[in-house]
């Protein structure tokens, strides 16, 4: 135990002497939580639309004003020929173009039918897709309005329509911050704890100090604990900063129990730190450790269910995501913070993350060799 005390004393002295690490721990979560949720927003606004209006009638301008009034579109071109509109798309001025044919009004009234043409710039797939869908909805609504006007009112609606109304549970207003902030906090905690622990041991290898440690009678377990404990504390601090910020800035108050969140984070951090230690035992330079850690963190982030839903991934990807510890943290964060889940709801998450923690740390301990 005395050895451990000296190891911890040394680690904390080194950490507090390194201004960059202090900055990483305090400033990084603040900045990321301030900026990322605002940028990582799924709502698509400001879609640039260019319209070719061959008709220039009352109906066509009515349709156009309906579209622009929706707030999703910005009219960046109003042309007489489709060629001009296409040029707008090619020069990136427009994401979508809508062609209203000549005799739009007349055909609508006389023949009760008229086709419009929609062309989409699919380079930004998400924007174009959603834009196309929004636009179709607006046109359909407009269509219905017209029917009401044109078809004489009868007692029986000639066209039965199923109307859906929906309400969003747990995030009533579909507030993206509520959805993104807990997830981003999960990434932050993972990155800081994982990277710092991976780089720390490798730095000792690079400096040659690890050799000096290896000729001393320090036990492996003491050495590893001496590295784990300080970064575990750092992780808890980062998490607390993040939780406070999301309350102060975004007004996110966890519905579930905060001690439960801390309980999960405590075990989760052990898993992530074990992962960092494991990387460090396989690497000789900080560069190698950085790239390997980065490689895995990228996978963890993209396959963690933060940006894309795991349920809509192909089967193989779902299987991969089961080995992604971050996935469980993101789920738990959302469950406890948004849904108010209790321990019983997340007990399997606890179990799985505890297995991660045990396996990763045991592996790191086994692979750390004082003697080669």
């Amino acid at each position: 135990m005395r050895t451990l005390k000296f190891l911890l004393q040394k680690e904390f002295r080194q950490i507090f002497r390194d201004k960059t690490i202090i900055a990483i721990i305090l400033v990084m979560p603040t900045i990321q939580l301030l900026i990322l949720p605002l940028a990582a927003n799924y709502e698509i606004k400001n879609i640039n639309l260019s319209i070719t209006d061959h008709d220039r009638s009352a109906y066509s301008s009515q349709l156009i004003s309906k579209i622009t009034a929706s707030g999703y579109f910005k009219l960046t071109g109003y042309n007489d020929s489709f060629k001009e509109s296409l040029e707008n798309i090619e020069s990136e001025k427009a994401d979508l173009t809508l062609e209203i044919p000549a005799n739009f009004e007349r055909n609508l009234i006389r023949e009760e039918e008229q086709k419009v043409f929609l062309a989409v710039n699919a380079i930004n797939g998400v924007k174009a897709n959603l834009g196309g869908a929004y636009l179709s909805t607006i046109i359909r609504n407009y269509n219905q309005d017209l029917r009401m006007e044109l078809i004489p009112q009868t007692k029986i609606n000639p066209l039965p329509v199923i109307q859906t109304t929906n309400s969003n549970w747990y995030n009533t207003l579909l507030n993206y911050n509520l959805f993104m902030v807990p997830g981003i906090l999960a990434i932050l905690v993972t990155m800081i704890a994982g990277f710092l622990s991976a780089l720390n041991i490798v730095k000792e290898k690079e400096m040659g100090t690890i050799e000096q440690i290896n000729v001393t009678p320090i036990k492996k377990i003491h050495f590893i604990l001496g590295k784990l404990i300080p970064f575990w504390i750092m992780g808890i601090i980062v998490f607390s900063i993040g939780l406070t910020l999301s309350r102060v800035i975004y007004g996110i108050v966890p519905l579930g129990s905060i001690p439960l969140l801390y309980g999960f984070i405590a075990i989760y951090l052990l898993a992530v730190l074990g992962f960092g230690l494991l990387i460090s035992t396989y690497c000789d330079t900080q560069q190698q450790a950085m790239f390997i850690a980065f490689f895995f963190v990228m996978i963890f982030v993209l396959m963690g269910g933060l940006f894309t839903s795991i349920d809509s991934m192909p089967e193989w990807a779902k299987t991969v995501s089961r080995f992604n510890p971050m996935r469980y943290l993101i789920e738990v964060m959302r469950m406890v913070i948004l849904k108010g889940s209790n321990f019983k709801d997340i007990r399997f998450h606890f179990l799985i993350i505890a297995i991660f923690a045990v396996v990763l740390n045991a592996w790191a301990l086994w692979n750390y060799r004082k003697t080669s």
Partner: protein
């Protein structure tokens, strides 16, 4: 050496292979307690590899060795309690102060708090580092770092201290002071095992062993070797042996 000889290092046919490459090839030698034993050889002759095996940092491929009475295969952790080690690379913590380094290494070798304080103060005084004791080790000149590093390596009064090219890049005056520290430790009964490139330093040793291509080329007291090779200095002895080496600089 009139008193009863006590062996602290004993090796028999010790070898280390890395794939096809035989870094250390069947070396056998003994070192007595309190002796200053010099280990010489060109770069790549296998000095560092041999030393790493003796410190328990590297497991031998074959052969036997006992260090301070412990086996290098099975009892590496007991060996580590009884030795001090100073590597080629400076390996105190540069971002800790002089005092903090002493406290840390004293602590992990199991010295009591009062011992750490006392020995630390004595050590700082001896090295004349009083005004630097609260400075980061990284800010000290190389010569001071090396002297400090040696003093820390023997702070727990080990039976043997292994020094791997301790005076590389150090000025002649500091080297002289460094050797004073070595003699002092040897007088206290600490066995010194030192590798070096400097032939004048070889003359300071009680006995030397010259490695050539992983094997022992010659071994004995400096005067004995000079006579044997009919050389006027250790330089000549070394050239005579090194000329026959097959390995290029590694």
């Amino acid at each position: 050496m009139i008193n009863m000889k006590e062996l602290v290092i004993e090796t028999r046919n010790l070898s280390k292979r890395f794939g096809d490459f035989i870094a250390v090839d069947n070396i056998s030698f003994e070192v007595n307690k309190g002796e200053i034993f010099g280990f010489l050889g060109a770069n790549g002759a296998g000095k560092t590899t041999a030393m790493r095996m003796l410190c328990g940092l590297s497991i031998p491929s074959s052969g036997d060795a006992m260090i301070a009475g412990f086996d290098v295969y099975k009892e590496t952790e007991s060996i580590k309690k009884n030795i001090g080690y100073m590597s080629q690379k400076f390996s105190l913590y540069e971002n800790l102060t002089v005092e903090e380094n002493i406290q840390f290494f004293g602590g992990i070798y199991g010295l009591s708090n009062s011992d750490i304080k006392e020995k630390g103060r004595a050590l700082i005084q001896k090295l004349g580092l009083e005004s630097e004791s609260r400075k980061l080790v990284g800010s000290l000149p190389l010569g001071w770092k090396q002297k400090l590093s040696f003093s820390v390596a023997v702070i727990h009064e080990p039976k043997i201290v292994f020094l791997d090219e301790p005076t590389g890049g150090v000025d002649p005056l500091t080297r002289r002071q460094f050797w004073d520290l070595i003699y002092e430790a040897a007088d206290r009964g600490v066995t010194i095992f030192v590798t070096t490139h400097y032939m004048d330093e070889a003359e300071y040793c009680n006995r030397i062993c010259i490695m050539v291509d992983g094997k022992i080329g010659a071994m004995g007291a400096p005067d004995f070797l000079k006579k044997k090779f009919r050389a006027s200095s250790m330089d000549e002895v070394f050239y005579e042996l090194a000329r026959g080496a097959q390995r290029k600089d590694a």
